[in-house]
Symmetry: C2
Subunit: 318 residues, 2 copies
């Protein structure tokens, strides 16, 4: 297990800085009043491809030596990593192959294609995805960039917490959603050194709570094919992300599907940001556990904003 | 006619700075590619009450001497000025009375009430609004802050273009929607002095094109009760805003209802911002007149983001 270091994160930031946005940190007096906390929203949905995953993907793509890069990159992903890797590969002018479940949101599939990625579809289970991917990679010989269990990716994601601390001047708590754990791991990596007194609290859907159960059990427990509106958070922790979660995360809070949809709507209404369901999970957790966050300076990583605008969860079935 | 000066705008900026946000300027590679221009979106939808009108409203409220302020402020508005004046009055702790058409979006009425404003409803016509307002003002004795035909308001709106020029380092063109003309007038006021080579191009719905027709005719032509999805742009120019429009605007471009809705959706999808229909009018005009804007550095003022999330124009009637 090749654990990325704080130096790797700093190197990643230098490497990706020309290619990514320094996203703004926004506040809302109304959401502060509602939560009782002072919330600082780090808007990774405002990255060009609409998600924080552009950080890790860009770091991986631009880390490759010229020969390795020429064969391209490949991945499997529930969505944002796929489109961000396609975007990063496009920046460098190399091919990108992605394996996506056929159930992935159309908005994310369209974006992969727009950025020049080639999609191979699979069933919406971890096992089908890994099997399909093995075939694609054998055929193309391209460099595998795992969506989160990859030191280059974790180092890249860690640059977000660095900016957030620099932009806010310090925080009591940083919250982010947890799926595979790439953002949370990068956040732990960065804060352990840069702001060791800042707690990292992860937020997870009840219906995809492998990280919560692993955290409470003290050992890695895997799910296969959980169902949640937060489509970016269906994937399980792996050894590298479990390392960071088990060693540095202060707590994991879970929220219901309805709480996620309600928080997503609050984000649209009061932040005037298009945020995807996964991005609303930390806000839902803050509102549900208000006493935990009361009067604290809390960083909230808005992870992405790629939403199918024809299928909003609060109008579904209405 | 009391025409505000550049010094009034500078004084307004000092006065309101502690109360408003320095909103970010965002870019989208995708929208740049689509338009052929280099677009700089000034995100006034990210003001706490969700609209640029907080600038003029705050300037007016904090300009009042203590005795005048104690009697409160009053206005009539199709929406954002009403809620921004309520918000600004709340900041100073004084009453605010607003007259709104009963057809105004519920989201905007709710916000007025949330900020502590008192609503009196009227019919959706300029004449009914003015008549109802006269009664309210006579009863309360409060200070009238017109939504746009007021030098304090225009000076406040002009602070937005000041920030936009400072944040971008200079632009070839600034575009903004035109309804009553407050934002366009403030933009003209500021740019005439700060960036005299920067063109000001206004964008207007075809279905509420009194500014366009006035501009082409060289004299003020008023509408009553036009219908457009861009609910913030139904009001007509008045003498003070006509002064700026007739003297400094380079052109006025009009767009259809469908073009507004399409551009609004583009903003949601690629900027990941919740923008209201009025805010999409300049982007629609740029895409429709691409040759005009090709290779130019274009500032686009995103005027507001107060939308009824249950009634999106691309799902209406679907």
């Amino acid at each position: 297990m090749d654990i990325p270091s704080y130096q790797d994160m700093l190197a990643a930031h230098e490497r990706i800085r020309p290619h990514i946005r320094l996203t703004p940190v926004l506040q809302s007096d109304h959401l502060n009043a509602l939560s009782g906390a002072r919330l600082f929203f780090k808007c990774e949905n405002l990255q060009e491809p609409g998600a924080f995953k552009v950080r890790g993907a860009t770091n991986a793509v631009f880390s490759l030596d010229r020969d390795r890069a020429a064969a391209g990159v490949a991945t499997h992903s529930s969505g944002n990593h796929a489109l961000c890797l396609s975007y990063a590969a496009g920046l460098r002018g190399i091919p990108c192959n992605v394996v996506m479940p056929h159930t992935a949101p159309e908005a994310k599939k369209d974006a992969v294609r727009r950025y020049g990625g080639t999609i191979t579809e699979c069933e919406p289970s971890t096992s089908s995805r890994e099997e399909t991917f093995a075939r694609v990679q054998a055929r193309t010989g391209s460099e595998f960039v795992h969506p989160y269990n990859d030191p280059r990716v974790i180092a890249g994601q860690g640059t977000c917490a660095k900016e957030l601390i620099e932009q806010t001047g310090g925080l009591d708590i940083v919250t982010a959603p947890i799926g595979g754990g790439g953002m949370i791991s990068g956040t732990c990596l960065t804060l352990a050194k840069l702001a060791p007194d800042t707690q990292v609290i992860a937020a997870e859907p009840e219906q995809a709570d492998d990280a919560y159960r692993s955290f409470k059990a003290g050992q890695l427990i895997a799910d296969d094919a959980p169902q949640t509106v937060a489509d970016g958070l269906k994937v399980p922790l792996k050894d590298l992300t479990w390392h960071f979660v088990s060693n540095h995360v202060s707590d994991i809070l879970t929220v219901s599907e309805q709480e996620i949809v309600d928080a997503m709507r609050l984000g649209w209404k009061y932040l005037r940001l298009v945020i995807e369901p996964s991005s609303a999970v930390p806000l839902a957790a803050i509102l549900k556990n208000a006493e935990r966050f009361k009067d604290k300076r809390v960083g909230v990583i808005i992870t992405g904003g790629n939403v199918d605008l024809d299928r909003l969860p609060w109008t579904e079935g209405a």
